[in-house]
C-alpha cells in the first residue's frame, strides 16, 4: 500500500519547464530509502532559477532507491544552522533529512548543506560549496552524488551527461535531426550538431571529452569525432557504402566501426591518430554494431552469419569469433557492463523487442524492459542502470531501467521524438 501511495506521488514530479525531459517513475524498489530534502533557504536577495531541493530529491528518486518525503508534510523547514528536531522527522517517516542554504556572494554562489540520520540522530556530513554564478545545477548534482554514495556505497551518476538524437519530421524527406547533450536528468539540453539527414549511434570517448557518431555530410554517410569543448570535428571515414556504428576503444585511441567499402558490411578498427584501418571480419553476412569489452581484448558485435542477427564475441588478438547469444531469433546491438561480466542488448521475444542482460559467466538471461521496440541500451558508468530508447504511439522517448529490471523510469520528451541515448563516463 505504501508503495502504491509513493508511486502515485511520484507521478506528480515535474522538472523545470526549461528541461527537455520530464521524469515519471513507473516502478520502483519495494523499500526505497525515505529522504526529506528541505527547501534550501535563500540567504541573499533575488530568486534562483533552480530549486536545489527539488533537483536533489528528483535525482535520488530517479535512481529508484529513494523515495522523497513530500514537502507539504514537513512540520518545519530548518536551515543548515538550525537545530534539527529528529522526532518531527521520524513522525513523517523520514529516514534521512537534508537541510541547506544558498546565497549569492562576491565570488558567485555559496551553498551549505548537511545530511542528517534521523534514527541515529546525528549529522552524517555537512559541506560548504562555493561556485560560479551559473553552477547551481552542477552543485545540485554534486550534492546528489555525495548523498547517494554516502547512503548506498555506490558512486553516484548525477553529474554525468547524456547524448541523444532528436528528430522532428515534417515529411519523409523533410526532417531535422539534432545531436543533443544534456545533464543526466535531461536538464540543460543543447544541440551540438544538427542536420536534415539522419544522425546515428552517438558514442562517448572513455574520458568524456569527445563523441563519435554517424552523420551525412552531403549525400554520403560518414563517421565523425567531435571534441565537445572546441566543437572541432574529425572525419574518420566516408567511404562509399556504409560508415556506421562507431565505438571507442577503452584507451580512446581507436574506433571500431562498420564499413562496406569492400562490398559487404564488415567490422573494422580505425586508429584515430594514424588513420590506419584494420579489417576485423570477413563474412558475406551482415556484421555490425561492434563495441569493446572493458579490458579491450574482445569486440562484441551483431552478425547475421547464422541466418538471424545474433551476438558474437571476437578475440581482438587473433580475430577468432564465437557466438554468445542462443535464446531468441533476434539479438543485436550489444555492449558490456562496466564490470565486464554481463552484456546488454536488444532481444526479441514474442515478436516484441526488449532490452535484455546476459551474464556471461552464469549464462543467466534477464529481460529488463516490457515496453515494445526497445533499443539502444547504454549502461550508466556505475553499472546500476541503463538508458534505452522506446516509443509511445510513434513518438520516441527514453527510459531508465535498473540492471535487475526492478526500477523503471520513463523520461518522456516534452517536444521532439528522441532516440539513440548514450550515457557518458564519469567526469571525475
Amino acid at each position: 500500500m505504501r508503495l502504491f501511495i509513493w508511486l502515485a506521488m511520484a507521478f506528480l514530479v515535474v522538472m523545470p519547464a526549461r528541461a527537455e525531459l520530464v521524469i515519471e517513475i513507473t516502478r520502483g524498489v519495494e523499500n526505497p530509502i525515505k529522504i526529506a530534502v528541505v527547501p534550501f533557504r535563500v540567504k541573499s536577495s533575488g530568486a534562483f532559477d533552480v530549486d536545489l531541493a527539488r533537483l536533489i530529491e528528483s535525482n535520488l528518486e530517479r535512481s529508484g532507491q529513494f523515495a522523497r518525503v513530500r514537502r507539504d508534510t514537513m512540520l518545519s523547514l530548518p536551515g543548515p544552522e538550525d537545530q534539527i528536531f529528529y522526532r518531527d522527522w521520524r513522525a513523517i517517516d523520514s529516514e534521512y533529512t537534508v537541510v541547506g542554504s544558498v546565497e549569492r556572494d562576491a565570488e558567485g554562489l555559496l551553498v551549505r548543506y548537511g545530511l542528517h540520520d534521523v534514527f541515529g540522530e546525528r549529522v552524517l556530513f555537512a559541506e560548504r560549496i562555493p561556485g560560479a554564478p551559473e553552477s547551481l545545477r552542477d552543485i545540485g548534482h554534486y550534492i546528489s552524488d555525495r548523498i547517494y554514495e554516502a547512503l548506498t556505497g555506490i558512486k553516484g551518476i548525477f553529474s554525468t551527461r547524456l547524448l541523444y538524437v532528436s528528430a522532428e519530421r515534417r515529411s519523409e524527406k523533410d526532417q531535422t535531426f539534432k545531436l543533443i547533450l544534456s545533464d543526466a536528468d535531461g536538464g540543460r539540453p543543447r544541440t551540438i550538431f544538427q542536420s536534415s539527414e539522419p544522425i546515428l549511434s552517438p558514442k562517448w570517448s572513455p574520458d568524456g571529452s569527445r563523441v563519435a557518431y554517424m552523420s551525412f555530410r552531403g549525400k554520403r554517410p560518414g563517421i565523425y569525432v567531435q571534441t565537445l569543448v572546441s566543437g572541432e570535428v574529425q572525419k574518420v571515414s566516408d567511404f562509399p557504402g556504409l560508415n556506421s556504428a562507431p565505438s571507442f576503444s577503452p584507451d580512446g585511441r581507436k574506433l571500431v566501426l562498420t564499413l562496406s567499402r569492400d562490398g559487404n558490411p564488415e567490422i573494422y578498427v580505425a586508429n584515430l591518430r594514424t588513420g590506419e584501418i584494420d579489417r576485423m571480419t570477413n563474412h558475406f553476412a551482415i556484421d555490425t554494431e561492434a563495441s569493446w569489452s572493458p579490458d579491450g581484448r574482445s569486440i562484441l558485435f551483431t552478425s547475421s552469419r547464422g541466418g538471424k542477427p545474433q551476438l558474437y564475441l571476437m578475440n581482438v588478438a587473433d580475430k577468432t569469433v564465437k557466438r554468445v547469444t542462443f535464446d531468441g531469433d533476434y539479438n543485436s546491438n550489444g555492449s558490456f557492463t562496466p564490470d565486464g561480466e554481463s552484456i546488454v542488448f536488444v532481444h526479441r521475444t514474442n515478436e516484441r523487442f526488449h532490452i535484455a542482460r546476459l551474464n556471461l559467466k552464469t549464462r543467466e538471461l534477464r529481460i529488463l524492459t516490457e515496453t515494445d521496440l526497445d533499443e539502444s541500451p547504454s549502461v550508466a558508468p556505475n553499472g546500476t542502470m541503463l538508458i534505452y530508447a522506446t516509443s509511445d504511439e510513434g513518438k520516441g522517448l527514453l527510459g531508465l531501467v535498473s540492471m535487475d529490471g526492478r526500477v523503471r523510469v520513463r523520461l518522456p520528451s516534452v517536444s521532439e521524438s528522441v532516440r539513440e541515448p548514450a550515457w557518458s563516463p564519469f567526469f571525475n
Binding site: 535531426f177 549525400k219 546491438n333
Partner: protein, 189 residues
C-alpha cells in the same frame, strides 16, 4: 526522324547530284582528247565504288540511329512508367518476383543510355536496431543494384545509399505500414 537527320540526308543527296553532274562533264570534254589508261580507269572505278559504299553505309547508319532513337524513346517511356519502389520481407533483401518486370524496364533504359544515372535508397522498418537496419537497407539497395548490373547496366551508373529505418514512408505501426517501409527507392538523377 529528327530535323538534324533530315538535313543530313538532304545534304548527302545534293552532294551526290553534284558529283554525278561533274563526272558527266569530265567524260564529255576530256573523253576525246585524253585516253584513260586501264590502270587509271580501274583506279577511278575503285574510287567510285568506295565512295558509293561509304554513302550507303552512312545512310544505313543514319537509319539505324533513327531506329535506335525510336527504340530509346520507347525504353525511356517504359522506364518512366515502371515502378520505382521495391519492397522486401522482414530482415530480407531478396527481390520479389513482381519487382523484376519493373527493374527490367529500368535496366533496359539504363543500358541503352549510358549517361543516365540512378540513386538507390535502401530502407528498413522500425523493428530491430538502427545500425543493423542501416546495414539491411544497404543490402536491399545492393540487391537491386546487382540485378541492374546483371541486366547490362554499368555499376558506375548506380549510386546506393542506406537510410535504415530513419525515413519511413508510412507511420502506421502495423504489418501494413512496416511492409511499405521495407523498400528500395529508385531515383533518376
Amino acid at each position: 526522324m529528327s530535323v538534324l537527320k533530315q538535313a543530313k540526308a538532304v545534304g548527302i543527296a545534293v552532294v551526290l547530284a553534284v558529283l554525278a553532274g561533274c563526272a558527266g562533264q569530265v567524260n564529255e570534254s576530256a573523253g576525246p582528247s585524253k585516253i584513260e589508261s586501264d590502270a587509271e580507269r580501274a583506279a577511278r572505278e575503285a574510287r567510285q565504288a568506295e565512295f558509293l559504299a561509304r554513302q550507303q553505309k552512312s545512310q544505313e547508319e543514319a537509319k539505324a540511329a533513327d531506329r535506335a532513337e525510336i527504340m530509346g524513346e520507347q525504353l525511356r517511356k517504359n522506364a518512366m512508367a515502371a515502378d520505382t519502389l521495391f519492397f522486401f520481407g522482414f530482415d530480407k533483401s531478396d527481390l520479389s518476383q513482381d519487382a523484376l518486370d519493373d527493374l527490367d524496364a529500368h535496366a533496359k533504359y539504363l543500358a541503352s543510355v549510358r549517361a543516365a544515372k540512378v540513386r538507390l535508397e535502401g530502407h528498413a522498418d522500425e523493428r530491430g536496431t538502427r545500425a543493423y537496419n542501416l546495414a539491411l537497407g544497404e543490402r536491399r539497395a545492393n540487391a537491386v543494384a546487382r540485378y541492374l548490373v546483371i541486366q547490362g547496366v554499368n555499376r558506375s551508373q548506380i549510386e546506393t545509399v542506406s537510410y535504415g529505418e530513419e525515413r519511413p514512408l508510412s507511420l502506421s505501426r502495423d504489418d501494413n505500414g512496416w511492409s511499405r517501409n521495407r523498400r528500395v527507392e529508385l531515383i533518376y538523377q
